[in-house]
């Protein structure tokens, strides 16, 4: 993947949100280190899953890529062009190629606009007049996402949650983007509807060859959708690999713990023991020194507190499988995710 030119190349990406305090002059007294030095690439037509728990910076990453937020440091390169600090004018041509799908289908559609207006909005803003007119194109898009083209003049409140999310997808597709950032696109939906939208996104991704950055906390959904997966913890990528490598052979202790914590709807299988992480995710205002996961890790040593582990291809990893850990898990112990580990003994 790295030998060809990637569609999106992110290196050292950092976003610190300043915290203001004090009186009478409000000074910057600290920073929320939401994202702290991310490196990853997205190839054309590829889907990269970003997983992690709340507060790990995955949504911030999505907003940085789409340049809805200004990065504090690092570099974002889109098709060879540096867009890290591009201004409004510089971003204009790129904005139509990078689109976003949001989590909440209720908040992300204007209730006062008809579906036709919502979906043709991006075309209006960018002054695009497709052949046959915008209305024809909107009807096509509605058809692609599985809605009735006759519903062109309806308002969002007339649709269910799943249908609204389809409208959001149609809007994202309107400009024929090359990259879509989908931020938790299915987590607000009921299980039976969730599958409909996942299938739709997958169809769109495969048939139209659009690259996706798929942000989600649900590991099973990410596994289903993504070709490559990055696991984030407290503003850093702790592991990134091709899907099967990551799920079959997780090397980072956090990835293992995360996988083992997912409850699965099977009762036939051997009741699997689980890695139980103790405590909560530390505050990103004052993250632990060294490896940020060390406060909850059962393998942590002195070295973990002093030295931040680099994201590298650990011994025994397949090419492209990078792990940021001083003591990566080994594959031959127990296959994940049905692995076992006594958390008490470890803690």
């Amino acid at each position: 993947m790295s030998n060809t030119n990637p569609l999106l190349d992110v290196s050292g990406l950092t976003k610190h949100f300043p915290i203001k305090g004090g009186f009478p002059i409000r000074r910057t007294v600290g920073a929320v280190q939401a994202v702290d030095g991310l490196d990853f690439q997205v190839a054309e037509g590829e889907s990269l899953g970003l997983v992690g728990e709340s507060g790990c910076g995955k949504s911030t990453t999505g907003r940085l890529i789409t340049r809805l937020l200004e990065p504090t440091g690092g570099k974002i390169t889109y098709r060879g062009q540096d867009i890290t600090h591009a201004d409004r004018k510089g971003l204009a041509p790129i904005r139509s190629e990078i689109q976003m799908i949001f989590q909440d289908p209720y908040a992300s559609l204007n209730p006062r606009q008809t579906v036709g207006k919502i979906i043709s909005g991006p075309m209006e803003i960018n002054g695009i007049n497709p052949e046959g007119g915008r209305e024809k194109r909107v009807r096509e898009l509605l058809e692609i996402v599985g809605l009735n083209p006759e519903h062109y003049n309806r308002f969002p409140h007339e649709f269910s949650g799943g249908q609204r999310q389809r409208i959001g997808v149609a809007r994202a597709l309107a400009l024929e983007p090359k990259l879509i950032v989908a931020d938790e696109p299915v987590s607000a939906l009921d299980v039976s509807i969730q599958a409909q939208v996942v299938n739709l996104l997958q169809k769109v991704q495969r048939e139209l060859g659009i690259a996706f950055v798929f942000i989600a906390h649900d590991l099973a959904v990410v596994r289903h959708f993504s070709q490559r997966v990055a696991v984030m913890y407290l503003g850093k990528i702790v592991e990134i690999a091709d899907r099967d490598d990551l799920y079959d052979n997780p090397r980072h202790p956090y990835t293992r713990a995360l996988l083992s914590a997912v409850p699965e709807a099977t009762v036939d299988a051997e009741p699997r023991e689980r890695i139980r992480l103790v405590g909560d995710v530390p505050s990103p205002i004052n993250p632990p020194s060294g490896c940020r996961f060390r406060t909850r890790c059962w393998k942590a040593t002195e070295k973990c507190a002093t030295e931040a582990p680099p994201l590298v291809q650990a011994e025994g990893n397949k090419p492209g499988h990078l792990t940021a850990c001083h003591y990566p898990e080994t594959a031959d112990t127990v296959p994940a995710p049905r692995l076992s580990k006594d958390p008490e003994a470890a803690a």
Partner: protein
């Protein structure tokens, strides 16, 4: 046979709204014994939360009509007065809600909120109640409970707030605990901690738990028995093993099939249930699932759309579907093949 601890008989909860009558729960029956966990699964609007609010008597009587029976140790709750219910709530039965931040008062310390319940029901002194609050916080695994007891909710993390809620719900050693999506807002690693905690506490106190969730994975982890709700009715019930590994209702089957898993096949589309959940203002006739059901045409005479299927329960196992046992065996067999290879 002795009387079950909690028993619902043909419960109906209807709300009158401007648009008409919403039949949120429409004929629901189940029993629950002490020390057992009943998992109630269903999508939004299936009536699972409404059922449990009804058990606690939390519906506004001005726009709610309730019918049927709710028996707690043989005592009828639907007709019970507000003062009788007040004695039971927080004492004999209590509830944990999904959103812990919204369910805790931001103006009172965690300790004061736990102590209040305890003092109300036991008449303990302030000092005793505070000691009890610290004890409860310790039990649910809050570090430094004697310090954190004076914290306000915003000083707690999401997982800790949910623990504090559990401490509050359990402060009077209730015999019935209703947990309404208690882990939905939490991350998986914290969710796992909370579920372990509930299991431990149940073992210690023999509490009966009703666990409401939309996540079948959570059900597989925590429940003894499962009740699947759709459109205000129970469509299937049985033990966890029966329901999850040999579902008898097309809706349950559809739910299981639509879930991506960590070890199932990839690169094949998921099999979603088509359509969306029904409106309870104007629910479909007959079986409420029939407009979305893949097998509705297999039943002759259009009975699925004309006749409400009965829920026949034998030894706690049953489903409400017109398909015959033979038909199900034939039609559902693909399911086992795709899921367990």
């Amino acid at each position: 046979m002795s009387t079950p601890f909690l028993s619902l008989r043909d419960l109906k909860v209807h709300f009158s709204t401007e648009d008409g009558i919403v039949k949120a729960v429409d004929g629901l029956s189940f029993d629950l014994e002490k020390g057992k966990t009943l998992g109630i699964v269903g999508e939004s609007g299936s009536g699972k939360s409404v059922t449990n609010m009804a058990i606690l008597g939390l519906h506004d009587p001005r726009n709610t009509t309730m019918d049927g029976e709710i028996l707690l140790e043989g005592k009828e709750l639907i007709s019970a007065s507000e003062s009788e219910l007040e004695k039971l709530r927080g004492n004999k039965m209590s509830m944990i809600f999904q959103d812990a931040l919204a369910s805790l008062s931001p103006y009172h310390t965690i300790g004061a909120q736990i102590a209040e319940t305890y003092r109300k029901h036991t008449g303990a002194s302030k000092k005793e109640a505070r000691a009890r609050a610290i004890e409860m916080l310790r039990r649910v695994g809050i570090p430094q409970p004697d310090v954190r007891v004076d914290d306000y909710p915003h000083q707690f993390s999401g997982g800790m707030r949910q623990r504090a809620m559990i401490a509050m719900a359990l402060v009077c050693d209730p015999e019935l605990l209703i947990a309404d999506e208690p882990t939905t807002a939490l991350d998986v690693t914290v969710q796992a901690q909370i579920m372990d905690l509930l299991k431990d506490l149940q073992q210690e106190f023999g509490t009966a738990i009703i666990f409401i969730t939309h996540d079948l994975g959570v059900i597989a982890d925590i429940a003894d028995d499962v009740l699947v709700m759709y459109g205000g009715r129970c469509v299937e019930r049985g033990t966890k093993k029966q329901v999850l590994s040999a579902p008898e209702h097309p809706y349950t089957l559809g739910l299981l099939n639509s879930m991506p898993s960590l070890d199932g096949p990839v690169d094949v589309p998921l099999s979603p249930i088509p359509g969306s959940p029904p409106s309870l203002l104007n629910p479909p006739s007959g079986c409420r699932f029939h407009p979305r059901c893949a097998f509705a045409e297999k039943v002759t005479d259009g009975r699925c759309s004309s006749e409400r299927p009965k829920l026949e329960v034998a030894e706690g196992r049953g489903s409400a579907c017109h398909l015959t046992v033979e038909q199900k065996r034939e039609l559902f067999s693909d399911y086992a093949a795709t899921r367990h290879n």
